[in-house]
Symmetry: C2
Subunit: 327 residues, 2 copies
């Protein structure tokens, strides 16, 4: 089951050094989710040939312009393209008013249902789910109310050993049973199929945590414990820790220390201050404290493989800037 994250932009506050504002596209099992939507996000989606029409859920972390000013433009483009499928937007209280005011003045009746769900700050809770995945909020602390989002797979079923279908003559109803962990008995009570003989345990549940703008919050390590992939803002180098604290941001060192605390498998740092033309110092600083750190570089897709499939599934590991994945 596919699970990956594509970086569309990761600069803080404004455009600089060719870097765009925050936005990411998450793909899970062919479902596309957009995380934040800075100005020009629709252009980034076009640039990387990503199908904006297939996005059905958009999650906005907070109402600073660099995280949402591209949202209405994207919505209007979907409208002009004749979309009919409903679009769900999750974001802080106020986002509904911001969209409504502009749609009212432009006298626009959208071609599709737009469902805006306010997500107030507060303890973590599930805001969206389907059969395979749930999306929870991550309580963040920024200058204004802010939630991160935690994509966590639900417990899957046991995995059928393909050769067992012929060996055991499995029928569809048997397959459903053994994947649920049930054995198959004859009417006489005789054990016909031991589910442990024809299935492997379910894949481990994978997860992706998106911590956009926040000061360092060690208490979130419990919620995100063992995250396969963690994006954490790292606006400044640690030499600017006072400025980071004053502006409710995080340093590269702090992001790495948080990844260690959360026992994440891999870390992506982003939301780079425009003061840094070169990002290598931020990466070097983070890697000193957490080796498996990567930069949020635009257009790069980070696969989130099952742990036993890492070697072949991670395009990030094949990219020149990547280090081997370290568990």
């Amino acid at each position: 089951m596919k699970f990956d994250v594509t970086i569309l932009g990761a600069n803080s506050a404004k455009f600089a050094h060719g870097r765009h504002q925050t936005s990411q596209l998450v793909c899970h099992n062919e479902h596309l989710f957009l995380l934040d939507c800075g100005e020009g996000t629709q252009l980034q989606l076009m640039r990387y040939r990503l199908k904006m029409s297939r996005i059905n859920q958009i999650f906005i972390t907070h109402l600073h312009g660099d995280h949402f000013l591209g949202l209405l433009g994207l919505i209007l483009t979907l409208h002009l393209n004749g979309r009919t499928q409903r679009l769900e937007v999750f974001g802080p209280p106020g986002l509904d008013e911001i969209l409504a005011v502009q749609l009212r003045w432009s006298e626009t009746a959208l071609s599709f249902p737009l469902i805006v769900t306010p997500v107030p700050a507060g303890p973590s809770r599930t805001v969206w789910e389907n059969e395979h995945l749930e999306v929870l909020t991550i309580p963040l602390e920024h200058r204004i109310p802010c939630n991160g989002y935690f994509f966590r797979e639900k417990q899957g079923k046991r995995r059928l050993v393909a050769s067992a279908i012929d060996t055991y003559g499995l029928r569809p109803q048997h397959i459903a049973m053994v994947r649920r962990g049930e054995d198959v008995y004859a009417d006489t009570g005789e054990l016909l199929i031991d589910h442990r003989h024809v299935t492997l345990p379910p894949h481990p549940r994978r997860s992706y945590a998106f911590c956009s703008d926040t000061r360092l919050l060690p208490q979130n390590a419990a919620l995100l414990q063992g995250a396969d992939l963690l994006y954490h803002e790292a606006t400044f180098l640690h030499e600017q820790q006072d400025r980071a604290a004053a502006t409710f941001h995080t340093t590269a060192r702090q992001a790495a220390e948080f990844a260690t605390l959360a026992q994440a498998r891999r870390l992506i740092i982003g939301h780079f201050s425009s003061r840094y033309r070169e990002l290598a110092p931020l990466l070097d600083e983070a890697r000193t404290y957490f080796a498996s750190t990567h930069l949020a570089e635009e257009g790069v897709t980070f696969d989130i493989p099952y742990p036993d499939q890492e070697a072949d599934a991670s395009s990030a590991a094949a990219a020149p800037w990547a280090e081997p994945v370290q568990a």
Copy 2:
């Protein structure tokens, strides 16, 4: 005195074929004015190395997203850059509410005074002026309230013949007099300097008309009579005239016919429908009816020379796509 227009975007409704949404930068006597501000306008300003910090007035024609969604992002970038100079924004009623709602939710106190002046639809009137220039509204008819903007120079003073300073021994107070068209007399009543001997008539008043989104309005030809440069939307080819009428847009032929009616010197067409990958058919159609037509191509600057200085002052005339200027 410099007077030119740089195209930042001229596609209608959405981004397509590498073309951006509507925005233009007008420069007059070192003053910079922004006309409309589609999403990503600040990126276009950066791309063409135009100094956004020097923009002091922004004029928005109407509240369709492709004409204003880049405005708040631009304002926030100016704020982050530490601007202190006041910024004046002119636009339809509602624009003030749209900006205020978003600034309130983002808890942003701008670093500079932002003055938003509502410009309701209605008869043409002056909305801004300085010593040399006035900006008037152009009544347009679109699906929602819409004003174009007409940049018209004020009557200048007579031009001093440089050699006359020595020949006539002109003093500063004499220069001021003859430039106002007054003669200089001795205390005895003797005519010392005939202003016609030392000055030339003032330059003709130049003008630029920006007609963004509108159906064809022949009645505007009187207001814009003799405009040196006219931008008129030409969303469709004339074969789509029914669709143009239904959506309150103009065809390339209609734009050219309007330029003829207004006796404009040159015409720029823009606001191209995304259905047209190639723009040559639109240009060809317009030129059939008005020879001196140009496409609104991004990054191109159209100089507006004094009529007697056209040959050397028009960079547009030197561009490969340009036709010789025809009066």
